[in-house]
Amino acid sequence: MSIIRSVLATALGLLAFFSATAVLGEARTGGTLVVATTNDTPDLDIQKYISSSQHNALMPLYNGLVEKDWTADEPFHPIVPGLATSWSVSEDGKTYTFNLREGVTFHDGSPFNAEAAHFNFQRMTDKDSPYYDQQAGSTATGVLKGLKGSRVVDEYTFEVELAEANVGFIEAIASLPNYYMISPAAIQKFGNEEIGQHAVGTGPFKLVEWVRGQRTVMERNEDYWGKKPYVDRMVYRPIIEPAARVAALKAGEVHIAWDIPVDQVEPLQGDPRFNIFLRGLPATKVIECWQASGPFSDRRVRKAVNMAIDRKTLAEVILKGTAIPATQLYGIGSASFDPDLPIFEEYDPEGAKKLLAETAHPDGFGFFVITSPENEPVAGALQAYEFVQANLQAIGVNMEIRVRDNAEFGAAYMRVKADDECVTFDRGYDTDFILDMGYYGGQCVPNGLNNQCFQNAEVDRLMEQAYTASSIDEWRDLHRQAQQHIIDDSGSFPLVHGLRPMASMKQVQDWLPAKAWLQFPGYAWLAEE
């Protein structure tokens, strides 16, 4: 069913695409594309951080060995060759060999080759290298625990070694731009700190000017090895407030605005000047609570809370169709997202009350959630929580919302929590390794990322099995099974899957937002006004 649907959708999409192009003719070269982005990067060193706001700002300037095609109109974004044209893995799954693209140069003119790739991986893995960077290293190995080292085979052949097999390796380095390549010559010239003020990559755009918090001005890289952008220049203008982004779009100051407020979607859809996109985001809005002790350690309490949440009204009325009711932990655009799963829990406040009556908290209880607006560019976060607050009130559960800054949110996420302490955010990344990170029993905070301290022996077993899976498909299959156990265990409170509303002026052609945190609008072109 879902296959037929997606084939149909693709066919229709292609049809629409071709008819549109036929009318408009050839893509036009030239012009400046101005994009209102959601956030800015603290500096220009793409290897040091792992936040999408930083990666988004820098992705047009850099390339990875492998990448994902963020412009593809498919259920999830496929892995494509980047600076490596092909790759293979050894029998034991511990050595990956990359055949590198020849004739590629960095923006400073220095060549890209196996030495350059090796230099970059040394920066992340080799503590003895003079250019080892602690922050880049901890970011790289924090995600890929087994990343061990690298080796130059010949000028255009390069190997990466893992301590243990990991079928998700290619998936990870394709999805996370902190593994992208920086010019070794530039790092040597500026040093590990100062490189943060210079962006020297191989990407389709070159940096012209970056003023933190105000603008990133980029121009087309005429020597780019791949598909060259149509626009001469692209400007990123970070506007943090959603209302201000829409105002800028309506006032004609930007061509594209990311993350539109929910209530602006409908009016913009009816406005002939704009296109609105509701594509999806591989993240799920969740409330995550401490389960090692306290009320949420009881599965019946968790289930009752899940039953009390009216996800349908939340998605359709409160969030005005900019999200769909949560069915699972993965989000739309994630390769593991299963469109056929039913709603996470049917809305049944009466049943919830009854179930709660069986527990140690028959008259309800109180808890608090910590949320950080900086953490959630996704539209309507606070409205959603206030709605859930009212939902839970109906079964006697008192949820207090504490809006805090990112520093406090981070501290709360990473600590052993109080019995009544929860955090809420959009869980999910552009690659689908969220289960290991959040639900593996041996990884409770503060030593791991299982911030609820969720425990389920069967889930642990399936994940361990997945580590030694022979293929990514098998890995995904095992994780789907694990997810089903988590769902049955009411192991989390997923609310909705966001559709991430994005808008552009009609003048912008061939732009389709990625179903991802990462966005690359650089291949759009501007029609004559």
Partner: protein
């Protein structure tokens, strides 16, 4: 007198001309009475709304009606429309008046008391003790109030109580300074001299003569700051460091309606108007009272 000793508090809207003679100083008493009347009427009206909030609110201010989100003014059942959660605007505005009044009154009252004590003891002695207290204020509170408020919010966490604490801290130095100035005038007055001549001890003089006579002018000055406090406090909530959802607060309500300002302007506009009106009421009242009660105005 050092000019900076009597600076208005540098928050959102310092009321000008405290020492140089504000508006009413040169006016006939008629106008200051008019100002008091208008100001008092506005403030009393808001106080009345706050007291009667449970009775005039058609709904619980936090009760959401998802189906009735963003209804306009005059929608049947919702006299002033609803907000992004379908909460009744009238009820939220009524209940929100309580937080705004609390922000206007509580920090000023507490800081006023502290200021009265510090200021009167400091200034009565004059000389070293006065310099010590005044300069101490400058040193410890040499910070921009907005910065202090943000830092306190980051440290204690947001919320009504912590907002009141941080506003109180912000207000202590100006209240102390003003008391000191009033006391400096009072201590030269004949009745104080007389008391001193009749052998009263300093402590007696402070409690029987200085303090009672300082209360009225300090109160007047405090009233003139209340309007700024309403605006400033709501601003802290507006940027998310003050009142927490779902509690009704005018500053938060402006922020709530921000994303739909061009579609459903009432959500942001009504609380904005409410703030302006209440702050203007306090400002009228403060101007008038200071003209009547502040001896520094009549020097």
């Amino acid at each position: 007198m050092d000019r900076t000793d009597n600076e208005p508090i540098p928050v959102a809207a310092p009321t000008g001309g405290s020492q140089e003679g504000g508006w009413p100083r040169v006016l006939s008493g008629v106008r200051s009475h008019q100002g008091i009347a208008v100001g008092a009427a506005i403030v009393m009206a808001v106080v009345l709304v706050a007291l009667l909030a449970p009775f005039i609110s058609p709904y619980d201010p936090n009760e959401i009606h998802p189906i009735d989100r963003l209804k306009g003014i005059g929608t049947p059942g919702y006299l002033l429309g609803t907000d992004i959660q379908g909460r009744d605007m009238l009820s939220r505005l009524a209940w929100g008046s309580r937080t705004s009044l609390a922000i206007a009154v509580v920090p000023l009252a507490i800081a006023g008391l502290i200021g009265l004590l510090l200021g009167s003891f400091g200034a009565y002695g004059g000389g070293v003790s006065e310099t010590l207290i005044m300069r101490g204020m400058d040193v410890v509170f040499g910070l921009p109030p907005i910065l202090l408020a943000i830092a306190v919010a980051a440290t204690l966490g947001p919320g009504l109580f912590n907002l009141l604490v941080s506003l109180t801290i912000v207000l202590i130095p100006p209240m102390t300074r003003v008391t000191a100035q009033v006391v400096a005038i009072l201590r030269e007055q004949t009745f104080v001299e007389a008391a001193r001549a009749s052998g009263a001890r300093d402590l007696q003089i402070i409690f029987h003569h200085i303090l009672p006579n300082s209360v009225a002018p300090v109160l007047a000055y405090a009233t003139s700051l209340a309007g700024s406090m309403v605006v400033f406090g709501a601003g802290i909530s507006f940027i998310g460091l003050g009142i927490q959802p779902p509690r009704a607060d005018w500053g938060r309500m402006i922020n709530d309606g921000r994303e739909v300002l061009d579609l459903m302007p009432h959500v942001s506009t009504l609380p904005g108007i409410a703030i302006v009106v209440l702050a203007a009421g306090f400002n009228f009242l403060g101007d008038g009272l200071r003209d009547l009660l502040d001896p520094r105005m009549k020097v």
